[in-house]
Symmetry: C2
Subunit: 457 residues, 2 copies
């Protein structure tokens, strides 16, 4: 193993799968005609073992030694108490954060990238494809691919490719091939290039290209959020946090996380949810998902069947959505610019087991700056949403005089997002929030997709 | 404390000071007239307690609780075994690295910045000044200053200020005032601006401005390397590593580190040196300092009295130097672009207790890329020099069939140096090495400084 043995026992040996503990069965993935997608149909895109995990009802899934050995490069990640922030806020609340930014790519994403690349390599696959916006997910795939000797082709949104070269360099340094999207490599890409030779691209187009490339070439496609198997891999975060916060002699009243596709938040809260369901939680712990007001999936969206991607290539997924045709404003929290949300998390929000809140970009950066000055750790713009919610809970605790315990997920550091902070410091940051009419139109289009037959449950 | 209690005991409670264990007394700091500088004369610039540490002959110096509490944000740092690299090199050597890149600013520098800012704040000082090149030291000072509520003014070399905005943003985010140097705030700055209104600046000029500002305003000046008190604070690195490598059931044959001013390498090797002197080392451990061929202080310089800065404002320091007038080529390892070397390390090199090696920029980046692909961690350009030397030792071990243990200091990550990696990947990186004539001329100028009287020892 890579890490000194005195840390080693703290890293979990199994991932936790929430599916058997959900209050209701998860609605199936559907084809546009309303028929459920069979597991083997996913195997065109994903490694067999990942498909097995996607549909698994096992509560615990063993972490392969090879994957755990890689985790030991940066795991266990620290659980820290934000004492200086507490003092600054003059709150009786105790604020803890789990810091996933110590991984080599700087976020929680490698928790699943490493697992996915391991299974892909074990099944003899030579190459994977994926898409990336600003590069958090793409760099985690490049990192994991280099460790398992698999080639990676990353379709990177052209606007980011041109304007944010550093994560591209990082991917290339790890040996990945980074292709500005739209590209002339795929039919989808050529279509958009024919329309506009300098098309800036979008995450939706990049997904289409990565999927088309994988299907045509026999490569596998790897995904960074939303699906069950991805979220399962992230539960190492919460399983460690459970142990760590008990070392402080504490237990959370609130577990808080930023929510785009839902993987970092689920990784933290699932294990606490398990304890609560099993009657083992020391408190009546509450869960709070935090999203950008610019992409208000959980707070202003609807629980509907919708496509997982923009182009409509994926199965229909029952989830909270603002409609796959909605174009999120260019906020800096690129990882939260997703029109939908993981089906497991959506179900729990719908059932009232998880709460949701939305904040505007500038108020999020204001708190991120406060946090950086107080605690020294610079939050990624995505993670800063969780910081904002934690601070709001701490201020509420102050007003009410209740010494609650708040635990949030600092899913990544912001050292590759300093241009966003510069914009904030210059006072040049914009806040865009969709109008009610705009949202209603996109949601109506998604609602129209709901198949009239074949629906279960 | 910030960190979960199960880690807490691993972080040292005292720093180690090598001075009482040196094979010879350290030559004194001298004024240009040859008289030793008295401790109180340093108090114009530095906090009293730091001056006390500078001249201390105590072997152990207690770490204040307030400093240790901040260390607990990121300490203990991981000690990792580079098993994938070993396999790639097919070497019988075992390669370990201590990874200081997990600190919020991303390097070992806050180990001393936090200590210095604590003492400064305890003595009631409201503001510190310092200089920075690319920003590693400046950002660590900004980080520490924000935690202790002290203002920081950082004179940043203008060329870096313009071309490398991200560490500047980081410093501003932590509340520091960043001034492009030369500036119109100081006499020194105004002199250079009068010559050239768009003067690109240099580290030497920035030091002059920071020192002048501190002396005139009653602020204190903080320094990132070379002096004893700075190196003492870095020994938390080696003290942790001593414990950690024993958990692996191992002990190093070689302790390796990059060397600019000498602080990160000293922080790692001093505690192993202590064990060796005390007869407690499990092996006849060897020490190797690694420098850029572009600034070959230890390998081609001489052990002389020279100024610590370029402008000749500091006392004379007995050290290995290539001459304070030498202008290092613009290599990317900005932290190694120093004409001299810590006096303690210089003495040990002179006495043959520490070895030295120098490598060219491109061969260093070649190995950094190899390391990033094999281990996933992207080395800072400075740290990459240690990686290069470790790989050379591992290849030697392979040729000789000797299963030696190598420990090196990964003093920082390279996520804010990706433009340098881009240059390397493009094949556009230059190698500049000084000619023998060039070095001889600069060294001769330094030799002429040696005072003819008042020399001790």
């Amino acid at each position: 193993m890579a890490r000194a043995p005195q840390y080693e026992w703290m890293v979990p040996r199994s991932w936790y799968n929430i599916v058997p503990d959900l209050p209701k069965p998860l609605p199936p993935y559907l084809k546009p005609n309303g028929e459920p997608v069979a597991p083997h149909e996913f195997e065109i895109l994903f490694a067999k073992e990942l498909v097995r995990q996607e549909f698994s009802k096992d509560r615990w899934i063993q972490i392969p030694t090879e994957v755990r050995d890689v985790y030991l490069i940066w795991r266990p990640t620290p659980l820290l108490r934000a004492r200086r922030l507490e003092a600054l806020l003059k709150t009786p609340a105790r604020i803890y954060y789990k810091f996933e930014g110590v991984s080599p790519p700087g976020s929680h994403k490698p928790n699943t990238a490493v697992a996915q690349l391991y299974y892909v390599s074990r099944e003899g696959v030579q190459r994977v494809t994926t898409e990336t916006g600003a590069g958090q997910w793409g760099s985690s795939v490049a990192f994991a691919a280099s460790l398992f000797g698999v080639k990676a082709t990353v379709y990177m949104v052209r606007a980011s490719y041109m304007q944010k070269p550093y994560r591209r360099v990082l991917m290339e340094l790890w040996g990945a091939e980074v292709v500005p999207s739209p590209s002339d490599r795929t039919e989808a890409g050529r279509k958009y290039l024919a329309e506009d030779p300098s098309h800036p691209g979008s995450l939706g187009i990049a997904i289409s290209e990565a999927v088309e490339d994988a299907v045509r070439s026999g490569a596998k496609y790897v995904l960074g959020s939303v699906l069950n198997h991805v979220l399962i891999h992230q539960t190492v975060i919460g399983l460690e946090a459970l142990e760590q916060i008990r070392y402080f002699g504490d237990y959370p009243d609130y577990v808080v996380g930023a929510c785009g596709g839902g993987s970092s938040f689920s990784g933290l809260f699932w294990p606490f949810y398990y304890e609560k369901r099993a009657g083992r939680a020391e408190k009546d712990v509450k869960f709070l998902a935090v999203e950008p007001a610019a992409v208000p999936t959980l707070t202003r969206g609807e629980y509907l069947y919708d496509f997982g991607d923009t182009a409509g290539l994926t199965p229909l997924i029952k989830m909270h959505t603002v409609g796959h045709t909605y174009k999120p404003p260019p906020i800096h929290a690129g990882g939260l610019r997703y029109h939908g949300c993981a089906p497991t998390l959506s179900l729990l929000v719908e059932e009232g087991e998880v709460g949701a809140a939305a904040y505007r970009q500038t108020e999020v950066f204001e708190v991120a700056r406060l946090f950086a000055a107080a605690e020294g750790v610079v939050p990624a713009p995505e993670s800063a949403h969780a910081v904002k919610a934690a601070v709001e809970l701490a201020l509420k605790a102050k007003r009410e005089g209740t010494p609650v315990t708040i635990l949030f997920n600092m899913s990544g550091h912001g050292l590759l997002d300093l241009s966003a902070y510069e914009e904030y410091l210059r006072g040049a940051m914009a806040d865009a929030v969709p109008t009610a009419e705009e949202l209603a139109a996109h949601i109506a289009r998604a609602r129209a997709l709901t198949p009239s037959s074949g629906l279960r449950g």
